[in-house]
């Protein structure tokens, strides 16, 4: 058996090393590491917050492609930043990549796209013949209310949105690649000399002179006005697509909070006294980059200049503070490694079931679960620092936090119980939780650190109500997980000669349910107090509030029924399984109803997962009922009854 252990452990090690090598041995890219680093660490304002360009590129690619990487025409894997740089500087290449995920055969049929699969990826060039149809359909479906749209209609809208974003991105540097023609007129000769065309940066520098010329022309009875207007129209045409990336921070002294794109900067330049020279140099750097060959010294200089100017401006405004940390967060990919190590820990746990007395496996078990738990906690902590927020502000974060709490509580139980049951559960729950979080991120395809709606903009209530109520959720799910171990063990006839095993499981379930009651009750009441401070009522029977109340009520029912002796140990176990189902309803189910004030938590991509969960849990309840009827279970009640008897005798 020891030989088998070593065999599995060796393969796990080889697998780990191979993964690390594959990860690091990225085949040669057309973009140097330095270029990628400079662009990745640029700051951009998007959806109300300042974030690294790497984050923006990553979310954009995820939205289009359903994952954070794609293959180029040579089959080489591209990172989000490489893809993004291709879109900006080599748009014709980027249009050939299969970057648009179409997940529905009906959508393919509507757009006359051919594929042997039901779910496939297409390049922009593949979509061009269907472009008109796509936008016509999207315009038609946009007027249908969300709830009434079919899946295909929803996906047509998403695809149209993605195509628009892609076109905006690939056309972003059009202004920098094509100089603007200067009409032959003495007015322009005075400003630009003998030049027949000029770059946007030159126009921006000369914008006060152009404004003066316009005023002068108007006062001179219109002489030259037509030429000036023609020129201004040419500028508008050139900057039409330059609106998608707001990468120019406002001047340090400015009170404006809105960052500028080259387009908005150009518009603002004609209404200001004189454009800020540092901001103009950002545009100059973009022009240098757009007109030089990638890999050349000129391109490298442009990238360095773009980075220096924008970062300096952002730093002067104190808006670059969290960018390096966010880059580290995404580069470190702690949740991915956490998942990977949780899976490995589960393999080790499975081995420990087969060789329960093996000391090496026993010694490795705790660190094997502790390390991914620490990575998970570090990831959550990093997010808190980056956002200056408590750990739970979005549904995505609830998954991470609930997983972390469930695993930590399970580890604590293992510390008390030492039967490796809680440790095994910690490993399984860690794996499932982090996997679910990663999956959820892909389903949602958005920035996981969005701006907060006004009512949530309070760290006090987020750190009290939201944190406590989600700890209640975590406890409910953990209790349910322990109950599953009980039922499965009983179904398989495990540990039949060890009644202490089942007593221990019941005690743990009972204890975790008590823990859950404390946090769910306090969290729910705190939520009411928050609502009383925000909306003027403690309780409004909102679906999310009701979901939390249902958890509290169910825990009260089970615990009171146990105290009164209406149910015994096995009743608590069944109650815990039901508790898990109620937590799932409260956590995700109510969000699918699409009503209520907690509209910041709506999500529609999880219905199938939830249905699957309920199907499995219903089957589990049937198995549990069958066990109660047909299979003798070691029904030695745990000493949770000691307290109950005392409570009853008190009456």
């Amino acid at each position: 058996m020891i030989g088998f252990t070593r065999y599995v452990a060796s393969w796990a090690l080889v697998f780990t090393l191979a993964l690390a090598i594959v990860d690091s041995a990225h085949s040669e890219s057309r973009w140097s590491k330095e270029t990628q680093r400079l662009f990745a660490s640029l700051a951009i304002q998007d959806a109300g917050r300042v974030k690294p360009l790497e984050t923006y590129a990553s979310v954009e690619l995820l939205q289009l492609n359903g994952r954070r990487s794609l293959k180029d025409t040579n089959g080489q894997s591209l990172s989000p930043m490489e893809w993004f740089l291709d879109c900006l500087f080599l748009p014709d290449e980027a249009k050939k990549y299969k970057s648009f995920l179409v997940e529905n055969p009906d959508v393919m049929a509507m757009l006359s796209l051919t594929s042997e699969k039901d779910r496939d990826r297409f390049s922009y060039n593949d979509l061009v013949p269907a472009r008109m149809t796509l936008f016509q359909l999207a315009s038609q479906y946009a007027s249908i209310p969300d709830k009434e749209r079919t899946t295909a209609q929803g996906q047509i809208l998403n695809l149209a949105h993605n195509v628009t974003d892609f076109e905006a991105l690939t056309g972003f540097l059009h202004f920098a690649q094509h100089p603007i023609p200067v009409p032959a007129s003495p007015i322009f000769a005075e400003i630009f000399g003998e030049k027949t065309d000029v770059r946007l940066s030159e126009i921006l520098t000369q914008s006060p002179a152009l404004q003066q010329a316009l005023v002068k022309a108007n006062s001179a009875g219109g002489t030259g006005t037509a030429e000036l207007r023609t020129f201004l129209t040419s500028i508008d045409a050139a900057i039409r697509d330059a609106d998608v990336l707001s990468i120019i921070p406002p001047a340090a002294a400015s009170e404006d909070k809105e960052w500028l794109s080259p387009a908005t900067f150009a518009e603002a330049a004609f209404t200001q006294q004189k454009p800020d020279a540092v901001q103009v140099s950002v545009v100059t750097a973009l022009e240098t980059l757009a007109t030089s060959k990638q890999g050349s010294a000129e391109f490298a200089g442009g990238a360095a200049e773009l980075h220096r100017t924008t970062v300096e401006l952002a730093k002067a405004r104190g808006e670059y503070r969290t960018i390096p940390l966010e880059l580290i967060y995404y580069k470190a990919d702690l949740f991915w490694y956490s998942l990977y190590l949780f899976v490995l820990s589960f393999v080790l746990v499975a081995i420990s079931w087969m060789v329960p007395k093996n000391k090496l496996v026993g010694a490795l078990l705790v660190p094997a679960v502790l390390i991914p738990t620490c990575l998970l906690v570090c990831g959550v902590a990093l997010r808190c620092i980056i956002r200056s927020r408590p750990p739970v502000t979005t549904l995505y974060e609830t998954i991470l936090f609930i997983t972390a709490v469930a695993v930590i509580v399970a580890l604590f139980m293992e510390y008390a119980d030492r039967r490796r049951v809680a440790l095994s559960l910690a490993s399984i729950l860690g794996t499932l939780g982090v996997f679910l979080a990663n999956k959820y991120e892909v389903i949602e395809r958005g920035d996981t650190m969005p701006s907060m709606v006004a009512v949530l903009d309070t760290n006090f209530w987020l750190s009290t109500h939201v944190t406590t109520v989600t700890m209640g959720y975590a406890a409910g799910l953990l209790a349910s997980a322990i109950a599953h171990v009980y039922v499965i063990s009983a179904a398989l006839g495990l540990k039949r000669k060890d009644p202490g095993y089942y007593q221990s499981l019941t005690r743990m379930t009972y204890g975790v349910m008590c823990f859950g009651l404390l946090f769910a009750t306090v969290g729910t009441v705190l939520g009411g107090i928050w609502a009383n401070n925000s909306w003027g009522r403690f309780w409004g029977w909102d679906p999310k509030e009701n979901g939390a109340l249902m958890i509290v009520l169910w825990l009260l029912i089970v615990l009171h029924a146990r105290i009164a002796g209406f149910i015994r140990d096995y009743g608590v176990i069944l109650g815990a399984i039901c508790c898990g189902m109620i937590v799932a309803f409260s956590w995700f189910g109510v969000n699918l109803l699409g009503v209520g004030l907690h509209s910041y938590g709506f999500t529609s991509g999880i219905a199938t997962a939830l249905k699957t969960f309920y199907a499995i849990e219903s089957a589990m309840l049937l198995v549990a009922a069958a066990i109660a009827i047909w299979r003798p279970i070691p029904l030695v009640d745990s000493n949770t009854t000691a307290h109950n008897k005392t409570a009853e005798s008190a009456g």
């Binding site: 960052w259 709606v453 928050w530 679906p543």
Partner: protein, 386 residues
């Protein structure tokens, strides 16, 4: 023969039994679940009235004719409160180790009592105004009333909505007052209606009829309407009219030599102070239309006292027995530089802070109790291992 003590103790034991606790909690759970699902189709207001504010109800399963009689949440909470009190009387604490249980149950009682006081005596509505406007009253979100005033007299006689809003179809109700020279008959009250040109056979007033509309799940979107008949007490002459909640001008009736206005309006309450909106600020996340924060700078004037306050999300103004919250703003389709209004929720609730006290009590109780239990569990586990 029953002893006096057993005559008292038996019903107490029954009312305070765990059976009552568990069954009541179970029904509360079922009602909460059904009431949550019901909101999808019928909206919050109707569901709340039917499931949560009621003594009994009939739950219908989808579109099927199957109905299930159920106790309402209001009744269940009363039963739970009685059960808690009786349970406390028959299970008086004997050991300090149970102190946590008693403390947490006391917290639940405070919470239930707070809910009862709120339900019975709180008043809530909204005060909506533009910058530089002043108001000393707030309006109900849902309740209607009829205001009768003599033209030129600011004093209005009020008929509360409860007197006419539950009228069954085809029924009418008549009001009279000693100082009014007429009686007012209200009929065909519709919770959601709109005036429209009269159709053949329909009841019409000056070529218009009141068209009944389906009730909107969003209660605030419903606009009520009713027919009224003003009957001159002296001459017996009658004037018919249509009242509608969004009417630009009230219905006017001439009785004798005087003119009277009759209006269907949202119920309103007077504040014992004036509130002036000095400035409304809406901050958006840069480059988006997502509100980051909104707040109202207000001046509260009461007699000679003038004070300035800032009301923002999560930071209400508590003044005397009233609390003013930053609830919303509008118009939602306003263009840049359009004037915006601020809507403050106004609540008078004697039990406003009771949930906070309950929360503290429950937390202390549960922490104490479960802390003891955890300690005992850990001790047992240590003993088991040694």
């Amino acid at each position: 023969m029953f002893s006096m003590s057993s005559i008292i103790r038996t019903p107490l034991r029954l009312a305070g039994s765990y059976w009552v606790t568990v069954i009541t909690l179970f029904f509360l759970l079922v009602l909460t679940f059904l009431g949550t699902l019901e909101q999808v189709e019928h909206g919050l207001f109707v569901t709340q009235q039917k499931y949560f504010n009621s003594l009994f109800l009939l739950h219908q399963f989808g579109d099927t004719p199957i109905v299930l009689p159920l106790p309402g949440v209001y009744l269940l909470l009363i039963v739970l409160g009685v059960n808690l009190l009786c349970g406390a009387l028959i299970r008086l604490p004997r050991a300090w180790s149970h102190a946590g249980v008693w403390i947490s149950h006391l917290g639940i009682l405070v919470l239930l009592a707070g809910g009862f006081v709120t339900y019975k005596s709180s008043v809530d509505g909204h005060l909506t105004f533009y910058e530089n406007e002043t108001s000393d009253e707030f309006l109900s979100y849902n309740d209607w009333e009829i205001a009768i005033s003599e033209v030129g007299d600011s004093k209005a006689r009020i008929i509360p909505g409860a007197s006419f809003s539950q009228l069954p179809p085809g029924k009418s109700t008549t009001f009279q007052a000693a100082d009014l020279p007429f009686t007012l008959t209200i009929s065909e009250f519709a919770p959601n209606a709109t005036p429209s040109p009269a159709k053949d056979g329909a009841r019409s007033v000056d070529g218009m009829m009141l068209k009944q509309l389906d009730r909107d799940p969003e209660q605030e979107r419903n606009v009520a309407g009713a027919y009224v008949t003003v009957r001159d007490t002296a001459s017996g002459a009658e004037h018919e009219g249509i009242l509608w909640g969004m009417a630009r001008a009230p219905f006017e009736a001439h009785v004798g030599d005087k003119a009277w206005t009759i209006a269907l309006q949202k119920r309103r309450w007077k504040l014992p102070f004036n509130v002036r909106l000095d400035k409304f600020t809406r901050e958006l996340y840069p480059g988006t239309n997502t509100p980051k924060a909104f707040s109202s700078d207000v001046t509260v004037t009461e007699g000679e006292t003038v004070q300035k306050y800032l009301i923002s999300m999560n930071k209400p103004l508590r003044y005397r027995e009233y609390t003013l919250f930053q609830a919303s703003w509008g118009p939602q389709n306003a263009r840049p530089n359009d004037p915006l209004y601020s809507s403050l929720a106004v609540v008078r609730n004697p039990a406003d802070q009771w949930p906070l006290y309950a929360c503290i009590i429950i937390t202390v109780g549960l922490l104490f109790h479960f802390g003891l239990r955890l300690n005992s569990y850990l001790r047992q586990q240590r003993e088991r291992r040694t």
